[in-house]
Protein backbone atom coordinates (compact mmCIF):
# COMPACT_ATOMS: atom_id res chain seq x y z
CA UNK A 1 0.00 0.00 0.00
CA UNK A 2 1.33 3.40 -0.95
CA UNK A 3 0.14 6.64 0.50
CA UNK A 4 -2.29 8.88 -1.31
CA UNK A 5 -4.72 11.61 -0.54
CA UNK A 6 -8.04 10.79 1.10
CA UNK A 7 -9.82 12.83 -1.62
CA UNK A 8 -8.23 11.51 -4.82
CA UNK A 9 -10.99 12.63 -7.20
CA UNK A 10 -11.08 16.27 -6.13
CA UNK A 11 -7.52 16.85 -4.88
CA UNK A 12 -6.59 18.95 -7.93
CA UNK A 13 -9.80 20.95 -8.06
CA UNK A 14 -9.26 24.65 -7.53
CA UNK A 15 -11.63 26.81 -5.50
CA UNK A 16 -11.54 29.58 -8.13
CA UNK A 17 -13.31 27.40 -10.68
CA UNK A 18 -10.45 27.36 -13.18
CA UNK A 19 -9.45 24.25 -15.08
CA UNK A 20 -6.38 22.10 -14.34
CA UNK A 21 -4.47 22.07 -17.64
CA UNK A 22 -2.10 19.34 -18.75
CA UNK A 23 0.98 20.93 -17.19
CA UNK A 24 -0.67 21.39 -13.82
CA UNK A 25 -2.12 17.88 -14.02
CA UNK A 26 1.30 16.38 -14.73
CA UNK A 27 2.90 18.42 -11.95
CA UNK A 28 0.33 16.99 -9.54
CA UNK A 29 1.41 13.47 -10.51
CA UNK A 30 -1.01 13.09 -13.42
CA UNK A 31 -0.46 10.57 -16.20
CA UNK A 32 1.88 8.53 -13.96
CA UNK A 33 -0.71 5.75 -13.92
CA UNK A 34 -0.69 5.62 -17.74
CA UNK A 35 3.13 5.38 -17.64
CA UNK A 36 2.94 2.62 -15.03
CA UNK A 37 0.55 0.64 -17.22
CA UNK A 38 2.28 1.18 -20.57
CA UNK A 39 5.93 1.22 -19.45
CA UNK A 40 5.63 -1.02 -16.40
CA UNK A 41 4.73 -4.10 -18.40
CA UNK A 42 1.17 -4.45 -17.10
CA UNK A 43 -1.09 -6.63 -19.24
CA UNK A 44 -4.71 -5.69 -19.96
CA UNK A 45 -5.91 -8.46 -17.65
CA UNK A 46 -3.61 -7.23 -14.89
CA UNK A 47 -5.24 -3.79 -15.11
CA UNK A 48 -8.72 -5.34 -15.00
CA UNK A 49 -7.67 -7.50 -12.03
CA UNK A 50 -6.42 -4.42 -10.17
CA UNK A 51 -9.81 -2.74 -10.67
CA UNK A 52 -11.63 -5.93 -9.64
CA UNK A 53 -9.49 -6.24 -6.51
CA UNK A 54 -10.30 -2.64 -5.64
CA UNK A 55 -14.02 -3.50 -5.83
CA UNK A 56 -14.70 -0.41 -7.94
CA UNK A 57 -18.46 -0.27 -8.61
CA UNK A 58 -20.11 1.92 -11.25
CA UNK A 59 -20.70 5.46 -10.05
CA UNK A 60 -23.44 6.17 -12.60
CA UNK A 61 -25.99 4.78 -10.17
CA UNK A 62 -26.32 1.05 -10.83
CA UNK A 63 -23.16 0.02 -8.99
CA UNK A 64 -22.17 -2.79 -11.35
CA UNK A 65 -18.60 -4.02 -10.63
CA UNK A 66 -16.39 -2.21 -13.15
CA UNK A 67 -13.65 -4.83 -13.45
CA UNK A 68 -16.24 -7.52 -14.04
CA UNK A 69 -17.81 -5.47 -16.84
CA UNK A 70 -14.40 -5.07 -18.47
CA UNK A 71 -13.70 -8.80 -18.18
CA UNK A 72 -16.69 -9.62 -20.47
CA UNK A 73 -14.88 -8.00 -23.43
CA UNK A 74 -13.22 -10.55 -25.71
CA UNK A 75 -9.45 -9.94 -25.88
CA UNK A 76 -6.62 -11.07 -28.14
CA UNK A 77 -6.00 -11.56 -31.82
CA UNK A 78 -9.27 -13.34 -32.56
CA UNK A 79 -11.46 -10.74 -30.84
CA UNK A 80 -13.82 -8.67 -33.02
CA UNK A 81 -12.41 -5.29 -33.93
CA UNK A 82 -12.63 -2.42 -33.24
CA UNK A 83 -13.45 -2.45 -29.54
CA UNK A 84 -15.04 0.70 -28.13
CA UNK A 85 -14.86 2.45 -24.79
CA UNK A 86 -17.53 5.03 -24.03
CA UNK A 87 -17.59 7.46 -21.17
CA UNK A 88 -21.20 8.10 -20.21
CA UNK A 89 -21.12 11.84 -19.52
CA UNK A 90 -24.83 12.33 -20.18
CA UNK A 91 -25.45 13.49 -16.62
CA UNK A 92 -29.21 13.99 -16.66
CA UNK A 93 -30.56 12.22 -13.59
CA UNK A 94 -32.57 14.93 -11.85
CA UNK A 95 -30.78 16.20 -8.76
CA UNK A 96 -27.38 15.04 -10.01
CA UNK A 97 -24.50 17.46 -10.56
CA UNK A 98 -21.31 15.53 -9.82
CA UNK A 99 -19.81 14.61 -13.20
CA UNK A 100 -20.03 18.22 -14.30
CA UNK A 101 -17.48 19.16 -11.62
CA UNK A 102 -15.03 16.43 -12.62
CA UNK A 103 -15.17 17.36 -16.31
CA UNK A 104 -15.11 21.12 -15.98
CA UNK A 105 -12.33 21.31 -13.42
CA UNK A 106 -10.00 18.33 -13.93
CA UNK A 107 -10.65 16.91 -17.42
CA UNK A 108 -7.27 15.15 -17.69
CA UNK A 109 -8.15 12.90 -14.76
CA UNK A 110 -11.03 11.54 -16.87
CA UNK A 111 -8.87 11.23 -19.98
CA UNK A 112 -6.18 9.33 -18.04
CA UNK A 113 -8.85 6.99 -16.65
CA UNK A 114 -10.15 6.41 -20.17
CA UNK A 115 -6.68 5.57 -21.55
CA UNK A 116 -6.17 2.97 -18.82
CA UNK A 117 -9.68 1.54 -19.16
CA UNK A 118 -9.18 1.49 -22.93
CA UNK A 119 -5.93 -0.42 -22.51
CA UNK A 120 -7.63 -2.95 -20.21
CA UNK A 121 -10.31 -3.81 -22.77
CA UNK A 122 -7.97 -3.32 -25.77
CA UNK A 123 -10.16 -0.51 -27.06
CA UNK A 124 -9.25 1.10 -30.36
CA UNK A 125 -11.66 4.02 -30.21
CA UNK A 126 -13.18 5.89 -27.27
CA UNK A 127 -15.98 8.44 -27.09
CA UNK A 128 -17.04 10.83 -24.39
CA UNK A 129 -20.83 11.05 -24.74
CA UNK A 130 -21.52 14.46 -23.23
CA UNK A 131 -24.92 16.05 -22.76
CA UNK A 132 -25.36 19.01 -25.07
CA UNK A 133 -26.12 21.51 -22.32
CA UNK A 134 -22.71 21.05 -20.67
CA UNK A 135 -21.12 23.77 -22.78
CA UNK A 136 -18.23 24.61 -20.43
CA UNK A 137 -17.38 20.94 -19.96
CA UNK A 138 -17.37 20.55 -23.76
CA UNK A 139 -14.93 23.45 -24.21
CA UNK A 140 -12.60 22.23 -21.49
CA UNK A 141 -12.69 18.58 -22.54
CA UNK A 142 -11.98 19.54 -26.18
CA UNK A 143 -8.94 21.51 -25.12
CA UNK A 144 -7.76 18.75 -22.78
CA UNK A 145 -8.15 16.09 -25.50
CA UNK A 146 -6.07 18.23 -27.87
CA UNK A 147 -3.41 18.68 -25.16
CA UNK A 148 -3.36 14.93 -24.54
CA UNK A 149 -2.90 14.19 -28.26
CA UNK A 150 -0.02 16.72 -28.43
CA UNK A 151 1.66 15.03 -25.47
CA UNK A 152 1.25 11.54 -27.08
CA UNK A 153 -1.11 10.29 -24.40
CA UNK A 154 -3.63 9.69 -27.20
CA UNK A 155 -3.31 8.58 -30.81
CA UNK A 156 -0.93 6.06 -32.35
CA UNK A 157 1.60 4.27 -30.12
CA UNK A 158 0.89 6.12 -26.90
CA UNK A 159 4.19 7.14 -25.21
CA UNK A 160 6.07 4.87 -27.62
CA UNK A 161 4.13 1.75 -26.60
CA UNK A 162 2.23 -0.67 -28.80
CA UNK A 163 -1.07 0.72 -27.55
CA UNK A 164 -3.07 3.19 -29.66
CA UNK A 165 -6.33 4.92 -28.81
CA UNK A 166 -8.39 7.57 -30.57
CA UNK A 167 -10.62 9.66 -28.30
CA UNK A 168 -13.54 11.72 -29.59
CA UNK A 169 -16.02 13.99 -27.88
CA UNK A 170 -19.69 13.63 -28.92
CA UNK A 171 -22.25 16.22 -27.89
CA UNK A 172 -25.71 14.79 -27.38
CA UNK A 173 -28.90 16.10 -28.94
CA UNK A 174 -30.68 15.77 -25.59
CA UNK A 175 -33.09 13.32 -23.87
CA UNK A 176 -32.65 11.38 -20.62
CA UNK A 177 -32.76 8.08 -22.55
CA UNK A 178 -29.25 8.79 -23.88
CA UNK A 179 -27.89 8.05 -20.42
CA UNK A 180 -29.30 4.51 -20.61
CA UNK A 181 -26.46 2.27 -21.75
CA UNK A 182 -28.03 0.87 -24.91
CA UNK A 183 -30.01 4.03 -25.67
CA UNK A 184 -26.65 5.79 -25.64
CA UNK A 185 -25.27 3.30 -28.17
CA UNK A 186 -28.18 3.99 -30.52
CA UNK A 187 -27.76 7.74 -30.09
CA UNK A 188 -24.06 7.50 -30.91
CA UNK A 189 -24.99 5.55 -34.05
CA UNK A 190 -27.18 8.47 -35.11
CA UNK A 191 -30.49 6.81 -34.23
CA UNK A 192 -33.32 7.46 -31.78
CA UNK A 193 -32.17 6.59 -28.26
CA UNK A 194 -34.49 3.62 -27.74
CA UNK A 195 -33.06 0.85 -25.56
CA UNK A 196 -31.90 -2.44 -27.03
CA UNK A 197 -32.94 -5.92 -26.05
CA UNK A 198 -30.39 -7.65 -23.81
CA UNK A 199 -28.70 -10.12 -24.16
CA UNK A 200 -26.44 -9.68 -26.01
CA UNK A 201 -24.83 -7.22 -23.65
CA UNK A 202 -22.72 -4.32 -24.92
CA UNK A 203 -19.33 -5.76 -23.85
CA UNK A 204 -19.96 -8.47 -26.48
CA UNK A 205 -22.25 -6.73 -29.01
CA UNK A 206 -22.30 -2.97 -28.52
CA UNK A 207 -21.64 0.12 -30.61
CA UNK A 208 -21.92 -0.70 -34.34
CA UNK A 209 -22.19 -4.35 -33.24
CA UNK A 210 -18.70 -4.39 -31.71
CA UNK A 211 -17.56 -5.04 -28.12
CA UNK A 212 -18.20 -1.89 -26.08
CA UNK A 213 -17.79 -0.85 -22.48
CA UNK A 214 -19.81 2.10 -21.18
CA UNK A 215 -18.55 3.61 -17.91
CA UNK A 216 -19.62 6.68 -15.96
CA UNK A 217 -17.34 9.74 -15.60
CA UNK A 218 -16.73 9.34 -11.85
CA UNK A 219 -16.03 5.61 -12.28
CA UNK A 220 -13.34 6.28 -14.87
CA UNK A 221 -11.84 9.04 -12.73
CA UNK A 222 -11.21 6.48 -9.95
CA UNK A 223 -9.11 4.26 -12.23
CA UNK A 224 -5.76 6.15 -12.31
CA UNK A 225 -5.73 6.31 -8.51
CA UNK A 226 -6.35 2.57 -8.18
CA UNK A 227 -3.44 1.91 -10.53
CA UNK A 228 -1.17 4.34 -8.65
CA UNK A 229 -1.98 3.37 -5.09
CA UNK A 230 -3.42 -0.15 -5.22
CA UNK A 231 -6.54 -2.01 -4.21
CA UNK A 232 -5.80 -2.06 -0.47
CA UNK A 233 -5.47 1.73 -0.43
CA UNK A 234 -8.75 2.09 -2.33
CA UNK A 235 -10.54 -0.20 0.12
CA UNK A 236 -9.14 1.79 3.03
CA UNK A 237 -10.69 4.99 1.63
CA UNK A 238 -14.21 3.65 2.20
CA UNK A 239 -15.88 3.05 5.54
CA UNK A 240 -17.74 -0.06 4.36
CA UNK A 241 -17.07 -2.96 2.02
CA UNK A 242 -18.02 -0.76 -0.96
CA UNK A 243 -14.61 0.75 -1.49
CA UNK A 244 -13.28 4.18 -2.38
CA UNK A 245 -14.59 7.69 -2.06
CA UNK A 246 -17.80 9.03 -3.53
CA UNK A 247 -18.95 12.44 -4.64
CA UNK A 248 -21.98 13.08 -2.43
CA UNK A 249 -24.27 16.05 -2.88
CA UNK A 250 -27.36 17.67 -1.46
CA UNK A 251 -29.97 19.98 -2.98
CA UNK A 252 -33.29 21.33 -1.76
CA UNK A 253 -33.89 23.57 1.25
CA UNK A 254 -30.70 22.74 3.14
CA UNK A 255 -28.42 25.46 4.50
CA UNK A 256 -25.46 24.68 2.24
CA UNK A 257 -26.39 22.81 -0.94
CA UNK A 258 -23.25 21.37 -2.49
CA UNK A 259 -20.99 18.52 -3.42
CA UNK A 260 -18.37 16.77 -1.28
CA UNK A 261 -15.93 13.91 -1.85
CA UNK A 262 -16.32 11.68 1.19
CA UNK A 263 -15.60 8.09 2.16
CA UNK A 264 -17.99 5.56 0.67
CA UNK A 265 -20.31 4.60 3.50
CA UNK A 266 -20.56 8.07 5.05
CA UNK A 267 -23.98 8.18 6.71
CA UNK A 268 -26.89 10.11 5.24
CA UNK A 269 -27.05 12.09 8.50
CA UNK A 270 -23.42 13.19 8.27
CA UNK A 271 -23.87 14.38 4.69
CA UNK A 272 -27.14 16.13 5.47
CA UNK A 273 -26.27 17.69 8.82
CA UNK A 274 -22.51 18.28 8.79
CA UNK A 275 -21.79 18.94 5.14
CA UNK A 276 -25.09 20.41 3.93
CA UNK A 277 -25.53 22.19 7.29
CA UNK A 278 -28.97 20.74 8.03
CA UNK A 279 -32.27 22.27 7.04
CA UNK A 280 -32.74 25.98 6.43
CA UNK A 281 -34.27 27.93 9.28
CA UNK A 282 -38.04 27.63 9.32
CA UNK A 283 -38.31 24.34 7.48
CA UNK A 284 -38.31 20.78 8.78
CA UNK A 285 -36.89 17.64 7.20
CA UNK A 286 -39.43 15.15 5.87
CA UNK A 287 -37.47 12.80 3.62
CA UNK A 288 -35.05 12.61 0.75
CA UNK A 289 -34.27 10.86 -2.49
CA UNK A 290 -30.75 9.58 -1.78
CA UNK A 291 -29.28 9.53 -5.27
CA UNK A 292 -31.37 11.13 -7.98
CA UNK A 293 -34.97 10.97 -9.12
CA UNK A 294 -35.04 7.22 -9.61
CA UNK A 295 -34.28 6.19 -6.04
CA UNK A 296 -36.77 5.40 -3.27
CA UNK A 297 -37.52 8.05 -0.65
CA UNK A 298 -35.96 7.52 2.77
CA UNK A 299 -37.07 9.25 5.97
CA UNK A 300 -35.84 10.23 9.44
CA UNK A 301 -35.58 6.61 10.60
CA UNK A 302 -33.00 5.87 7.88
CA UNK A 303 -30.62 8.78 8.44
CA UNK A 304 -27.94 6.71 10.15
CA UNK A 305 -27.62 4.38 7.15
CA UNK A 306 -24.23 4.42 5.43
CA UNK A 307 -24.47 5.71 1.86
CA UNK A 308 -23.15 2.81 -0.16
CA UNK A 309 -24.60 0.33 -2.61
CA UNK A 310 -25.12 -2.42 -0.04
CA UNK A 311 -26.53 -0.61 3.00
CA UNK A 312 -28.92 1.56 0.97
CA UNK A 313 -30.35 -1.53 -0.74
CA UNK A 314 -31.02 -3.06 2.69
CA UNK A 315 -33.34 -0.18 3.63
CA UNK A 316 -35.29 -0.53 0.38
CA UNK A 317 -33.65 2.28 -1.55
CA UNK A 318 -30.47 2.79 -3.56
CA UNK A 319 -27.45 5.05 -3.34
CA UNK A 320 -27.94 5.87 -7.02
CA UNK A 321 -25.75 8.80 -8.02
CA UNK A 322 -25.18 9.81 -4.37
CA UNK A 323 -26.64 13.27 -4.83
CA UNK A 324 -29.61 13.62 -2.49
CA UNK A 325 -32.72 15.70 -3.07
CA UNK A 326 -34.23 16.86 0.21
CA UNK A 327 -37.99 17.21 0.85
CA UNK A 328 -39.04 19.67 3.54
CA UNK A 329 -42.36 20.27 5.31
CA UNK A 330 -43.15 23.39 3.25
CA UNK A 331 -43.02 21.38 0.03
CA UNK A 332 -45.91 19.15 -1.04
CA UNK A 333 -44.89 15.49 -1.38
CA UNK A 334 -47.68 14.91 -3.92
CA UNK A 335 -46.51 17.90 -5.95
CA UNK A 336 -42.94 16.62 -5.79
CA UNK A 337 -44.04 13.17 -6.95
CA UNK A 338 -46.03 14.78 -9.77
CA UNK A 339 -42.93 16.72 -10.82
CA UNK A 340 -40.91 13.48 -10.85
CA UNK A 341 -43.56 11.57 -12.82
CA UNK A 342 -43.86 14.45 -15.29
CA UNK A 343 -40.13 14.08 -15.91
CA UNK A 344 -40.27 10.34 -16.44
CA UNK A 345 -43.40 10.51 -18.61
CA UNK A 346 -41.84 13.22 -20.78
CA UNK A 347 -38.55 11.36 -21.12
CA UNK A 348 -40.07 7.95 -21.88
CA UNK A 349 -38.93 7.04 -25.40
CA UNK A 350 -42.26 5.37 -26.18
CA UNK A 351 -40.83 1.91 -26.80
CA UNK A 352 -42.46 -0.18 -24.01
CA UNK A 353 -46.16 -0.02 -23.17
CA UNK A 354 -45.99 -0.07 -19.34
CA UNK A 355 -43.70 2.97 -19.58
CA UNK A 356 -45.28 5.23 -22.19
CA UNK A 357 -48.81 4.38 -21.20
CA UNK A 358 -48.45 4.00 -17.43
CA UNK A 359 -46.28 7.04 -16.79
CA UNK A 360 -48.64 9.36 -18.62
CA UNK A 361 -51.60 7.97 -16.71
CA UNK A 362 -49.88 8.35 -13.36
CA UNK A 363 -48.83 11.89 -14.21
CA UNK A 364 -52.46 12.81 -15.00
CA UNK A 365 -53.73 11.26 -11.75
CA UNK A 366 -51.19 13.20 -9.71
CA UNK A 367 -52.01 16.41 -11.57
CA UNK A 368 -55.71 15.92 -10.84
CA UNK A 369 -54.95 15.34 -7.14
CA UNK A 370 -52.95 18.56 -7.03
CA UNK A 371 -55.87 20.36 -8.69
CA UNK A 372 -58.32 19.05 -6.09
CA UNK A 373 -59.88 16.49 -8.39
CA UNK A 374 -58.46 13.37 -6.79
CA UNK A 375 -60.85 10.44 -6.39
CA UNK A 376 -61.22 7.48 -4.07
CA UNK A 377 -59.32 4.61 -5.67
CA UNK A 378 -56.58 6.82 -7.13
CA UNK A 379 -54.02 5.55 -4.65
CA UNK A 380 -54.71 1.94 -5.64
CA UNK A 381 -54.29 2.89 -9.28
CA UNK A 382 -50.98 4.56 -8.54
CA UNK A 383 -49.73 1.56 -6.55
CA UNK A 384 -50.76 -0.91 -9.20
CA UNK A 385 -49.00 1.12 -11.91
CA UNK A 386 -45.78 1.23 -9.88
CA UNK A 387 -46.01 -2.57 -9.65
CA UNK A 388 -46.45 -2.91 -13.39
CA UNK A 389 -43.29 -1.00 -14.25
CA UNK A 390 -40.94 -3.80 -13.49
CA UNK A 391 -38.08 -4.56 -13.26
CA UNK A 392 -38.44 -7.05 -16.08
CA UNK A 393 -41.53 -5.51 -17.66
CA UNK A 394 -39.64 -3.08 -19.90
CA UNK A 395 -36.45 -3.04 -21.98
CA UNK A 396 -34.68 -0.50 -19.79
CA UNK A 397 -34.62 0.91 -16.27
CA UNK A 398 -36.54 4.14 -16.90
CA UNK A 399 -39.95 2.87 -15.73
CA UNK A 400 -38.57 0.73 -12.88
CA UNK A 401 -36.63 3.83 -11.83
CA UNK A 402 -39.81 5.91 -11.88
CA UNK A 403 -41.53 3.30 -9.71
CA UNK A 404 -39.04 3.87 -6.90
CA UNK A 405 -40.02 7.41 -5.84
CA UNK A 406 -43.70 6.68 -6.57
CA UNK A 407 -43.99 3.53 -4.46
CA UNK A 408 -41.98 5.02 -1.59
CA UNK A 409 -43.92 8.31 -1.65
CA UNK A 410 -47.13 6.28 -1.32
CA UNK A 411 -45.58 4.39 1.58
CA UNK A 412 -44.14 7.28 3.59
CA UNK A 413 -46.49 10.16 2.67
CA UNK A 414 -49.76 8.26 2.33
CA UNK A 415 -51.59 10.61 4.70
CA UNK A 416 -50.66 13.56 2.50
CA UNK A 417 -52.01 11.81 -0.61
CA UNK A 418 -55.25 11.00 1.24
CA UNK A 419 -55.63 14.59 2.45
CA UNK A 420 -55.49 15.78 -1.17
CA UNK A 421 -58.39 13.47 -2.02
CA UNK A 422 -60.49 14.11 1.12
CA UNK A 423 -60.02 17.89 1.19
CA UNK A 424 -60.29 18.18 -2.62
CA UNK A 425 -57.31 20.51 -2.71
CA UNK A 426 -53.54 20.63 -2.24
CA UNK A 427 -53.02 21.67 1.40
CA UNK A 428 -49.75 23.37 0.40
CA UNK A 429 -51.35 25.75 -2.11
Amino acid sequence: MTSGTDKPLTKNIRPDGSVVDIRAYEQAGGYQAVRKVLHGGMTPSAVTDAVKDANLRGRGGAGFPTGQKWSFVPLGKDAPTPTYLICNADEMEPGTFKDRLLMERDPHQLIEGMIIAGFAIEADVAYIFLRGEYVLAAERLSRAIAEAYDAHYLGKNILGSDYSLELYLHLSGGRYMCGEETGLLNALEGKRANPRSKPPFPPVVGLFGKPTVVNNVETLCCVPHIINHGAAWFHALGRTQDAGTKLFGASGKVKRPGLWELPMGTTIREILEEHAGGMRDGVTFRGLLPGGASTDFVTEEHLDTPMDFTAMAKIGSRMGTGTMIVLDDQTCPVGMTWNLMHFFAQESCGWCTPCWSGLGWVERILKSMEEGKGQQGDLDKLASQANMWGPGATFCALAPGAAEPLQSALKYFRDDFERHICEKRCPWR
Binding site: P82, E91, M92, E93, P94, G95, T96, F97, D99, R100, Y127, R131, G132, E133, Y134, V135, L136, E166, Y168, H170, L171, S172, G173, G174, R175, Y176, A187, L188, E189, G190, K191, R192, A193, F208, G249, A250, S251, G252, K253, P257, G258, L259, L289, A293, T323, I325, V326, L327, D328, T331, G335, M336, N339, L340, H342, F343, Q346, E347, C349
Partner: protein, 154 residues
Protein backbone atom coordinates in the same frame (compact mmCIF):
# COMPACT_ATOMS: atom_id res chain seq x y z
CA UNK B 1 -27.92 24.28 -49.77
CA UNK B 2 -25.47 23.52 -47.01
CA UNK B 3 -22.71 26.10 -46.81
CA UNK B 4 -19.05 25.22 -47.32
CA UNK B 5 -18.44 25.84 -43.62
CA UNK B 6 -21.28 23.55 -42.61
CA UNK B 7 -20.05 20.79 -44.92
CA UNK B 8 -16.49 21.02 -43.69
CA UNK B 9 -17.62 20.94 -40.05
CA UNK B 10 -19.85 17.92 -40.74
CA UNK B 11 -17.03 16.12 -42.52
CA UNK B 12 -14.66 16.81 -39.60
CA UNK B 13 -17.10 14.95 -37.31
CA UNK B 14 -17.99 12.23 -39.82
CA UNK B 15 -14.49 10.71 -39.67
CA UNK B 16 -15.14 9.81 -36.03
CA UNK B 17 -17.67 7.15 -37.03
CA UNK B 18 -17.40 4.01 -39.16
CA UNK B 19 -20.80 4.70 -40.78
CA UNK B 20 -21.64 7.92 -42.53
CA UNK B 21 -25.22 8.27 -41.23
CA UNK B 22 -23.98 8.04 -37.62
CA UNK B 23 -22.93 11.69 -37.85
CA UNK B 24 -26.47 12.88 -38.51
CA UNK B 25 -27.11 14.27 -35.01
CA UNK B 26 -23.81 16.18 -35.07
CA UNK B 27 -24.73 17.40 -38.55
CA UNK B 28 -28.08 18.77 -37.43
CA UNK B 29 -26.45 20.45 -34.44
CA UNK B 30 -23.88 22.06 -36.75
CA UNK B 31 -26.53 23.39 -39.12
CA UNK B 32 -28.56 24.63 -36.18
CA UNK B 33 -25.54 26.47 -34.80
CA UNK B 34 -25.27 28.33 -38.12
CA UNK B 35 -28.98 28.92 -38.77
CA UNK B 36 -30.69 28.74 -35.38
CA UNK B 37 -32.89 25.78 -36.30
CA UNK B 38 -33.29 22.87 -38.71
CA UNK B 39 -35.80 23.76 -41.43
CA UNK B 40 -37.40 21.26 -43.81
CA UNK B 41 -34.97 22.48 -46.46
CA UNK B 42 -31.97 21.94 -44.18
CA UNK B 43 -33.30 18.50 -43.26
CA UNK B 44 -33.47 17.56 -46.96
CA UNK B 45 -29.98 18.91 -47.58
CA UNK B 46 -28.46 17.05 -44.62
CA UNK B 47 -30.24 13.81 -45.56
CA UNK B 48 -29.00 14.09 -49.15
CA UNK B 49 -25.48 14.88 -47.99
CA UNK B 50 -25.38 11.81 -45.73
CA UNK B 51 -27.24 9.45 -48.07
CA UNK B 52 -30.17 9.06 -45.70
CA UNK B 53 -33.90 9.21 -46.32
CA UNK B 54 -35.56 12.43 -45.15
CA UNK B 55 -38.04 10.40 -43.11
CA UNK B 56 -35.30 8.56 -41.25
CA UNK B 57 -33.52 11.80 -40.48
CA UNK B 58 -36.70 13.54 -39.32
CA UNK B 59 -37.50 10.63 -37.00
CA UNK B 60 -34.12 11.23 -35.39
CA UNK B 61 -34.50 15.03 -35.39
CA UNK B 62 -37.86 14.93 -33.62
CA UNK B 63 -36.57 12.59 -30.91
CA UNK B 64 -33.95 15.01 -29.59
CA UNK B 65 -35.10 18.08 -27.68
CA UNK B 66 -31.98 20.14 -28.45
CA UNK B 67 -32.66 19.94 -32.18
CA UNK B 68 -35.18 22.62 -33.11
CA UNK B 69 -37.52 21.82 -36.00
CA UNK B 70 -39.27 25.18 -35.65
CA UNK B 71 -37.70 28.64 -35.79
CA UNK B 72 -36.55 30.06 -32.47
CA UNK B 73 -35.75 33.56 -31.30
CA UNK B 74 -32.28 35.11 -31.28
CA UNK B 75 -31.83 33.77 -27.75
CA UNK B 76 -33.17 30.54 -26.32
CA UNK B 77 -34.04 30.45 -22.64
CA UNK B 78 -34.18 26.96 -21.17
CA UNK B 79 -35.57 26.95 -17.66
CA UNK B 80 -35.00 23.84 -15.57
CA UNK B 81 -38.26 22.24 -14.42
CA UNK B 82 -36.77 19.20 -12.67
CA UNK B 83 -37.19 18.32 -9.06
CA UNK B 84 -34.53 20.35 -7.23
CA UNK B 85 -35.40 23.51 -9.14
CA UNK B 86 -39.10 22.79 -8.61
CA UNK B 87 -38.55 22.62 -4.83
CA UNK B 88 -36.56 25.86 -4.94
CA UNK B 89 -39.12 27.93 -6.82
CA UNK B 90 -39.33 26.93 -10.48
CA UNK B 91 -43.05 27.81 -10.66
CA UNK B 92 -42.43 31.42 -9.65
CA UNK B 93 -39.49 31.78 -12.03
CA UNK B 94 -41.52 30.41 -14.94
CA UNK B 95 -44.45 32.69 -14.13
CA UNK B 96 -42.12 35.68 -13.96
CA UNK B 97 -40.49 34.85 -17.28
CA UNK B 98 -43.89 34.28 -18.84
CA UNK B 99 -45.24 37.62 -17.61
CA UNK B 100 -42.14 39.59 -18.49
CA UNK B 101 -41.78 38.12 -21.97
CA UNK B 102 -45.51 37.72 -22.63
CA UNK B 103 -45.06 34.15 -23.83
CA UNK B 104 -45.66 30.65 -22.51
CA UNK B 105 -43.38 27.64 -22.66
CA UNK B 106 -42.55 26.72 -26.24
CA UNK B 107 -43.29 30.21 -27.56
CA UNK B 108 -41.23 33.00 -29.09
CA UNK B 109 -41.62 36.70 -28.36
CA UNK B 110 -43.15 38.74 -31.24
CA UNK B 111 -39.85 40.60 -31.70
CA UNK B 112 -38.06 37.23 -32.08
CA UNK B 113 -35.71 38.11 -29.26
CA UNK B 114 -36.43 35.16 -26.94
CA UNK B 115 -37.81 31.65 -27.12
CA UNK B 116 -38.82 30.15 -23.77
CA UNK B 117 -38.41 26.40 -23.33
CA UNK B 118 -38.49 24.01 -20.39
CA UNK B 119 -35.44 21.81 -19.87
CA UNK B 120 -34.72 18.82 -17.66
CA UNK B 121 -32.22 19.00 -14.81
CA UNK B 122 -29.23 21.15 -15.85
CA UNK B 123 -26.94 19.66 -13.19
CA UNK B 124 -26.99 22.93 -11.30
CA UNK B 125 -29.05 21.63 -8.36
CA UNK B 126 -26.84 23.19 -5.68
CA UNK B 127 -27.61 26.60 -7.24
CA UNK B 128 -31.32 26.00 -7.93
CA UNK B 129 -33.43 27.40 -9.47
CA UNK B 130 -31.44 27.54 -12.70
CA UNK B 131 -31.80 28.36 -16.38
CA UNK B 132 -29.64 28.52 -19.48
CA UNK B 133 -29.74 31.39 -21.92
CA UNK B 134 -27.98 30.28 -25.11
CA UNK B 135 -24.66 28.82 -23.85
CA UNK B 136 -24.73 30.56 -20.45
CA UNK B 137 -25.82 28.91 -17.22
CA UNK B 138 -27.57 31.11 -14.63
CA UNK B 139 -28.08 29.71 -11.13
CA UNK B 140 -29.48 30.89 -7.78
CA UNK B 141 -32.24 32.68 -9.70
CA UNK B 142 -34.68 35.17 -8.28
CA UNK B 143 -36.86 37.58 -10.23
CA UNK B 144 -34.31 40.43 -10.04
CA UNK B 145 -31.54 38.16 -11.24
CA UNK B 146 -33.66 37.00 -14.18
CA UNK B 147 -34.41 40.62 -15.11
CA UNK B 148 -30.76 41.60 -14.97
CA UNK B 149 -29.69 38.53 -16.97
CA UNK B 150 -32.22 39.10 -19.75
CA UNK B 151 -31.06 42.68 -20.32
CA UNK B 152 -27.69 41.45 -21.60
CA UNK B 153 -29.27 39.42 -24.43
CA UNK B 154 -30.22 41.87 -27.18
Amino acid sequence: MLSADEISEIEAEAVHYPRRDAVCIDAMRIVQRHRGWVSDESLHDIAAHLGMSVTDLDSVATFYNLIFRKPVGRHVIMICDSVSCWIMGYDRMREHLGTRLGVGLGETTPDSRFTLLPIVCLGCCDRAPAMMVDDDLHGDLDVQKIDRALESYL
